[in-house]
């Protein structure tokens, strides 16, 4: 017979398997941050095509070209968003389904932003 045993430490055991008590907030934060990172890549890719000045500003390494700045900015935005969202949601029971829905929309926008047919339409 299945039984659930709550422990004083905030963990539970069910059918002999140990489940540590963890809020979903940090998971939601990580998922949302992933979406923000994807959107950031789409935005910097499209802006880089639309503005020569922006593209030149992202040329942080001559061998790699503007892709160096685009990818570093994306990673920095992603990590910064993750830290902020983690601090906001670390102890909250945030629904991961809502986080996934938002993240999928952001990822979709990011993919559009990196699609050549789209971003090249902004080129001079």
């Amino acid at each position: 017979m299945s039984t659930v045993t709550d422990r004083p430490s905030g963990t539970a055991e069910f059918d002999g398997i140990h489940y540590p008590d963890r809020p979903e907030g940090p998971i939601a934060a990580a998922i949302l941050a992933g979406g923000v990172g994807a959107l950031a890549l789409g935005v910097v890719t499209t802006l880089s095509e639309a503005s020569t000045g922006f593209k030149d500003a992202l040329n942080w390494n001559n061998a790699v070209g503007p892709l160096s700045g685009k990818t570093i900015v994306t990673v920095l935005v992603w990590l910064a968003a993750w830290v902020v969202l983690h601090l906001v949601y670390r102890n909250k029971p945030y629904e991961t389904r809502r986080a996934l829905t938002i993240a999928l929309i952001l990822i979709g926008l990011g993919v559009v932003g990196t699609f050549p047919t789209f971003f090249q339409a902004f080129g001079g």
């Binding site: 398997i17 540590p20 940090p26 998971i27 990580a30 890549l41 892709l67 993240a103 993919v111 090249q120």
Partner: protein, 170 residues
């Protein structure tokens, strides 16, 4: 039989990290899919969770390895200004310029979505652990992001293989 340094790096980028990525994805997906109540035992879950954690972390590391070597090691050779660089060769012929204008332009950007999402999945598995067994919604979320990470890498990898066939880095 001889490979240049550039060809070795191309192999490390595409087939070295790529092979680890594929293996880790297959193992990780199978592990996540079968991590359901009724399919795990108290004795088996410890070993299964360890294997799953290794799989998702290996996929994230290999994804980062692929994009970092691709962007910072191989890509500069691809886009070099000389007439013989792959980019110059592709753009010199209207029949092949699409491989750069569409193929490489998409590959070089979309590939970066893969390590980001793979890292998110690795975090979910490491943080939530066995809770994935009883919270099916979170497990399915992790699977969705895991498959997306693989999908973006597959797009980039396929385009990379095709571009290399048309204009290899020597």
């Amino acid at each position: 039989m001889h490979l240049t340094d550039r060809e070795w790096w191309g192999l490390i980028h595409g087939m070295g990290f790529g092979a680890v990525f594929l293996l880790a994805f297959a193992g990780g997906l199978a592990g996540l899919y079968s991590l359901r109540a009724g399919l795990v035992t108290p004795e088996g879950v410890v070993e299964r969770m360890r294997r799953l954690k290794i799989g998702v972390v290996a996929m994230a590391i290999s994804a980062w390895g692929t994009v970092l070597t691709g962007t910072w090691v191989v890509y500069p050779w691809y886009r070099a200004t000389g007439k013989t660089s792959p980019k110059s060769v592709l753009l010199a012929d209207p029949a092949t310029e699409g491989w750069h204008e569409f193929g490489m332009e998409w590959k070089e950007h979309i590939a970066w979505l893969s390590p980001i999402l793979a890292t998110v999945v690795a975090f979910i598995v490491l943080y939530y652990g066995t809770n994935l067994i009883r919270h099916d919604r979170v497990r399915r979320t992790a699977i969705t992001l895991f498959v997306l990470a693989f999908g973006f890498a597959a797009v980039a990898g396929t385009l990379g293989a095709l571009i290399t066939k048309v204009a290899p880095v020597h």
